[in-house]
């Protein structure tokens, strides 16, 4: 058996180009699946971390579910919008609710200061003054805006760390004027780095009072999101029940009717995300299966060519005493080794991809799960056996006389 391995490896080495082309399909398949898997897992983990940072006493109310699937969107869109008055109402009325913040955001803005400007990629968040206490953000310099700023629609802005670094590398930003679009804003504070992740850094944003936001970005209307904080983790359930009851009354939901809004905790987002992750994993598995079957057909194809090309070799081997089973094993092992080498290279590239991804996306750590490694090898072996068997049988069944004479 060891000899079969040795001769298989030897014959693969002596046909480097063909071997390389054969493993290409497996290689790409394994790479795509495993790196996708690693990113999905990393996403999952980062989400969990982010939610943990929000604190276990936080929960959210909004018009739309966290994830809207398909055609239900219309149904949710008919619901009544949330406003910042809802936030104040909840904060004032709720016994178990410590603070509430309403916020909405827009992306792709450019912030200018004198002759400096950021790229058109900055997120602008309009929030009530309660945002800073509800979200447990801390201020690095200056102050956050308050109810007063909000009431007067003041053009004040709190900068995220990235914006501060970019526009004020050598300057104290407090009291300076920046422009968002054509509107001037006075910088009142700078935030400490924020938790969370996305393709953009979470610190690549600025926060302005919600009223000012509505005035400035009147085109970006719609429902606000509410972030609520219970008095303590212990009374989270009570606080949520209270919020539901208050909102049903305020939005005049008839008894017996379902809520016309969504309420969820960080944990429930994680649950939803996990469901999503499972769907994505199933989908990738399906694609993986198909792509590897295609790769397997590639292996079969090239093995068949190889059998024909090596007809004389097979004849010679049989003439010097190779049993049919020996020929079968030789070709089968070649197919298996090819698929395994493909798996190894695929895993190596997937590992590199996960490293690159981790570097590229702040806060996201892509890791290759062990089960993916094991199943990659297992599945590739199976592919090698299934698609190597036919060519190997063909080789084993060659008549030695005809094979020896084959030109």
């Amino acid at each position: 058996m060891i000899e079969y391995f040795r001769s298989a490896i030897y014959s693969l080495i002596s046909n480097k180009l063909r071997s390389a082309l054969t493993i290409l399909g497996i290689f790409i398949g394994v790479w795509a699946i495993v790196s996708m898997q690693s990113v999905v897992e990393g996403f999952d983990r980062s989400m969990r971390n982010m939610m943990a940072e929000f604190g276990t006493e936080s929960f959210f109310i909004q018009k739309f579910p966290a994830i809207v699937m398909g055609h239900n969107w219309r149904k949710y869109n008919r619901r009544k919008d949330f406003t910042y008055q809802d936030a104040y109402y909840l904060e004032e009325t709720g016994l178990y609710i410590q603070s509430v913040s309403a916020y909405m955001s827009t992306g792709a803005q450019t912030i200018k200061y004198k002759d400096k400007k950021t790229g058109p990629v900055v997120g602008v968040l309009g929030a009530t003054a309660g945002f800073f206490s509800t979200n447990a953000t801390t201020i690095a310099d200056g102050r956050v805006f308050n109810k007063n700023d909000e009431d007067r629609n003041s053009n004040v802005v709190v900068l995220g760390m990235d914006i501060y670094d970019e526009l004020f590398p050598f300057e104290d930003p407090l009291g300076k004027e920046v422009r968002i679009g054509n509107t001037k804003f006075t910088v009142v504070g700078v935030l400490n780095p924020l938790p969370g992740f996305s393709f953009e850094s979470p610190d690549n944003m600025v926060i302005i009072p919600i009223t000012t936001y509505q005035k400035t970005f009147s085109w970006s209307s719609g429902s606000m999101q509410l972030m609520l904080r219970a008095v303590s983790t212990e009374v989270l359930d009570e606080a949520m029940d209270e919020a539901i009851a208050l909102m049903r009354i305020r939005r005049k939901v008839e008894p017996g009717q379902p809520n016309d809004f969504e309420i969820f905790t960080g944990d429930s987002i994680i649950d939803t995300m996990q469901n999503m992750t499972i769907y994505i994993q199933f989908a990738t598995m399906g694609i993986a299966g198909i792509s590897l079957v295609v790769a397997g057909i590639g292996i079969m194809n090239i093995m068949l060519v190889s059998v024909i090309e090596r007809t004389r070799e097979i004849g010679t081997r049989k003439a010097v005493g190779a049993k049919s089973s020996a020929i079968l094993w030789q070709f089968l092992i070649e197919a298996i080794i090819l698929s395994q080498i493909g798996a190894i290279f695929g895993l190596i590239l997937a590992y590199i991809t996960s490293l690159v991804y981790t570097q590229l996306v702040p806060g996201l750590t892509a890791n290759i799960p062990l089960w993916a490694v094991i199943s990659a090898f297992g599945y590739c072996s199976l592919i090698g056996i299934v698609f190597g068997l036919f060519p190997a049988r063909k080789a084993a069944r060659l008549n030695p006389i005809d094979a020896l004479r084959y030109e």
Partner: protein, 269 residues
């Protein structure tokens, strides 16, 4: 060793046996009314037609005949690459196949492979070396299939290569060797498992006359060292190296004669 007995076509096999015993020669191969019939569509081709033949240990035989005469089929059957349609083939004390008795005995593919591996050494016209394997690996091949452990193989391969004066070429691939050297590697491969018989199918067919002579010297030497050698050839001067010359025509043995020139001056006294 004594001079071989002459055997005539159609001679009673039992009588031949008797004669062998009298002369003290051991039978290696016995063909008893062997035929090989191919069915090509509606046409029936009798490639071998009722051939009876006895080959003894240390025979040096050349098989001659025009193309299509059946000499290749004869070779294939002797070499256990093919099996006859009828007749009895006995190799040493084993029945390779017996199609005549009521209960047909026929070795299966694995048994035939085993005979080819241990008892027969092939030398082909086109050398049939594995093109990407070194001389060493080519010679090693039969030993691998015989399941001989690695260190033993190494010893045997190096000895076989030394016997064909190619000890210093063991790491060369066939493309790095001359035609004569390639055929010597093939001879080393045929010898490495110490077979009972060497079957050379047009061993010089692809070589120039100088190299042919060189190869024939090796085959003569093999015979002198008590090996049984069969050469299939259509070149009379190559055939003349043998001590017994069998002519095949239309699937039958046309002539089976002693090469008196050689026997007069026997190499192996």
């Amino acid at each position: 060793m004594e001079v071989k007995s002459e055997k005539k076509v159609g001679e009673n096999p039992e009588k031949t046996e008797e004669k062998n015993n009298m002369t003290g020669q051991n039978t290696l191969i016995k063909f008893d009314h062997i035929s090989r019939i191919y069915q090509m569509g509606a046409e029936t081709i009798r490639a071998l037609d009722d051939i009876s033949l006895t080959i003894h240990v240390n025979d040096y035989i050349s098989i001659m005949g025009p193309s299509g005469s059946g000499k290749s089929t004869l070779m294939n059957i002797i070499g256990c690459l093919d099996t006859p349609t009828s007749g009895v083939y006995q190799f040493e004390d084993e029945i390779v196949c017996d199609m005549n008795s009521e209960k047909i005995i026929k070795m299966n593919d694995n048994q035939l492979a085993s005979i080819r591996n241990k008892k027969i050494g092939f030398v082909f016209q086109t050398f049939n070396l594995l093109p990407r394997a070194t001389a060493f690996q080519n010679v090693e091949l039969p030993l691998i299939y015989a399941g001989i452990p690695r260190h033993e193989r190494r010893e045997k391969v190096l000895k076989a290569l030394k016997d064909v004066s190619l000890a210093d070429r063991s790491t060369h691939t066939p493309s790095e060797l001359s035609g004569g050297q390639r055929q010597r590697v093939a001879i080393a491969r045929a010898l490495v498992n110490s077979p009972s018989i060497i079957l050379a199918d047009e061993p010089t067919g692809n070589l120039d006359s100088e190299t042919s002579r060189e190869i024939m010297v090796f085959l003569d030497e093999l015979h002198r060292l008590n090996n049984t050698v069969i050469i299939v050839t259509h070149e009379p001067d190559i055939a003349a190296h043998a001590h017994r010359m069998i002519h095949i025509l239309d699937g039958k043995i046309d002539r089976d004669e002693i090469n008196h020139q050689k026997i007069k001056n026997p190499v192996n006294v």
